[in-house]
Amino acid sequence: MSLAEDIKQIQSKQDKKILLMTHIVLGYPSFEVNRGVVRQMVENGVDLIEMQIPFSEPMADGPVIVKANQDALENGTTVAQCLEFAAEITETYDIPFLFMTYYNILFKYGEEDFFKKAKKINIKGLIVPDMPPEEGETYFSRARKYELAPIMIFAPTSTNARMKNLAGYGDGFIYCVARKGVTGTQTSFDDEFNNYIGRCRQATDLPLAVGFGISAREDVDYLIGKADIAVIGTKTIKLVEKKGVDSVGLFIKGLRR
């Protein structure tokens, strides 16, 4: 089943007002912790999980995720281990999992091999923030070939025309970056945001995921009716750092009534 179908199914089956997607950095602080966190997330109703394969140059990420990437690599985390872990997780849980990473990870692995492998271990989509359509001739054709959703990113700076163009390359859903900047800072949901999300809605029929700075129930509430998926990124990483794996479940549960 494709990611788009997955999402439709989740939406229809469970009649949720909004879906939740969460984010983990593989190997940070350890795969053991990742395992616990994923379990907490799934058991508490998370609908999709993006798993970030760490990269030494996480240009689009903010300090918390940057540090997580760096620590994961310093712990010796390899791409091979990430793929193995992902295979285990997709076997264990029945929600869609995506990879998030930077393009060099695919490039060095071999783009074709990477897609093949990701497909094989039942990954549903890829979020690669430094892969614009202009650079992605082979990337997008391989995504189609292996039926892995290439998640396109909209930004507040994207024009309407640009959004339409981007949407044409995408599948599964669109990742709408809630504001300018990097991951990890609070977003203010105001008229400007509403206008932006309206433009996103206009540009595509794909589900809209909104990420960057979503950290509390109010944020999720605010997105209901405006977007299809709320993305929790940095917040759970900080939570695990401060309060441990077991705090994740309660937090997730509290995000939706």
Binding site: A60, F107, M131, T157, S158
Partner: protein
């Protein structure tokens, strides 16, 4: 060069979507400026009234005699205002920023030269300015940090990653994706996403234009070889462009050999065999990375060469065999610097000294009626802490200890 900023298989623009429009605007502004002959004239005028262009081409009589081979000419980018070729790029981008109506500039810096140059340009043009600099480089280049701050810039210490140039670049991008509306990112070398390599190369081409004219005036013919150090590659591209159309002129890029090419402690992406193709920091080039694409910790005594990537334009010229790449070790660099100071009264920056090393290795074997040019990309004043340290100068150490004590005492 294709429309997408490729040089052979290298280059491109692997940028986050949030910067797409910013790059569109930049590409347009650059394309317009490039069309506009008046722009280049103004640029040359600015560089000749604010900096010291044309910078001289100096005949190094004593070094020539010392090696007994081809005549050695030195292109004196050290005489630029702020002490390095970095001024060329920065003033050019400053003019573009003005054209685009932006009010704030940011930059990464390794050796600190690009940071000082950017802070200087910002003062001159009245822009707000923030400079990102790796913690390790700050330790190596403290005087430059002081000057940036005095010039009115905010210097942000980058503590992520290897705390050097590449991390400062990441951090600058993180700033840019936040404030692209009023901010221009003044990238310091011929790297990064399109149109930066092309743009920086264009501004730096003033070096090669001058050098070509000067060597013909002074020597009466083109040089046999041209040597330049290669960090990102901007000074090298600058001077090489004056001779690219002359296949008889051999172009030699010298990378940081650090502790040696087999030591794993170097920054040679093209010389040696440790580099491999990759995509990072927004462009595709040869990087020093591991098998899985994680960037490696590089090493050089010269902060400005201590970088994982290299200009996509140079990667292409390397692949096509147009530019030969060599590496100079830290030790060789100190020896070449010492010789150059004592023989010619010139103090090349540690970066520039790499080019001197390779020229010194080869020049004795070239006929005496030939000439070579070494691009002296900058002056070594900025490196006093590193150089004094490397030469293990006892009276310098005493001085620093005494100064330290003085400050502790208060």
């Amino acid at each position: 060069m294709s429309n997408k900023g490729y040089f052979g298989q290298w280059g491109g623009a692997f940028i986050p979507e949030v910067l797409f429009e910013t790059f569109q605007e930049l590409k347009e502004a650059f394309a317009e400026a490039r069309q506009d002959e008046q722009f280049w004239r103004e640029y040359v005028n600015l560089m000749s009234t604010y900096s010291c262009r044309p910078t001289p081409l100096t005949f190094a009589e004593n070094l020539t005699r010392h090696f007994g081979g081809a005549r050695i000419y030195i292109k004196r980018e050290d005489l630029n205002h702020t002490g390095a070729h970095k001024a060329n790029n920065v003033m050019g981008q400053g003019m573009l920023v003005k054209r685009m109506g932006k009010k704030r500039v940011i930059a990464e810096t390794g050796a600190g030269q690009h940071g000082v140059a950017t802070a200087t340009m910002a003062a001159k043009f009245g822009f707000e300015c923030t400079i990102y600099m790796g913690e390790e480089d700050i330790m190596r280049q403290r005087p430059n940090v002081f000057w940036m701050e005095k010039l009115g810039a905010t210097v942000v210490t980058v503590t992520s990653g290897t705390r050097t140039l590449k991390d400062a670049i990441n951090e600058a991008f993180r700033d840019w994706v936040t404030r692209m509306d009023d901010t221009h990112y003044v990238l310091g070398t011929v790297c990064g996403p399109h149109p930066f390599p092309e743009m920086v190369a264009w501004f730096q081409s003033i070096i090669g234009q001058e050098a070509n004219r000067q060597i013909q005036e002074q020597f009466g013919a083109l040089p046999d070889r041209v040597y330049a150090c290669v960090g990102g590659g901007s000074n090298a591209m600058g001077i090489f462009q004056g001779f690219l159309d002359h296949p008889e002129v051999e172009l030699v890029g010298v990378e940081a050999g650090g502790r040696g090419l087999d030591s794993g402690r170097h920054a040679s992406r093209l010389a040696g065999t440790d580099g491999s193709a990759g995509v990072a920091q927004g462009y595709k080039t040869m990087f020093l990375q591991n098998d899985e694409g994680q960037m490696q910790d590089t090493h050089s005594v010269a902060a400005g060469l201590d970088y994982v990537g290299v200009s996509p334009i140079l990667a292409d010229l390397w692949e096509k065999g147009r530019v030969r790449f060599e590496a100079a070790t830290d030790e060789e660099v100190m020896a070449a610097l010492d010789l150059t100071m004592k023989k010619e009264g010139l103090i090349p920056a540690l970066e520039s000294s790499h080019a001197f090393v390779q020229a010194f290795k080869e020049v004795g074997d070239i006929e005496t009626d030939k000439a070579v040019i070494i691009n002296m990309s900058g002056r070594g004043d900025k490196d006093i802490f590193t150089i004094a340290h490397a030469f293990d100068d006892p009276s310098w150490k005493e001085f620093i200890i005494a100064k330290g004590d003085e400050y502790v005492a208060r």
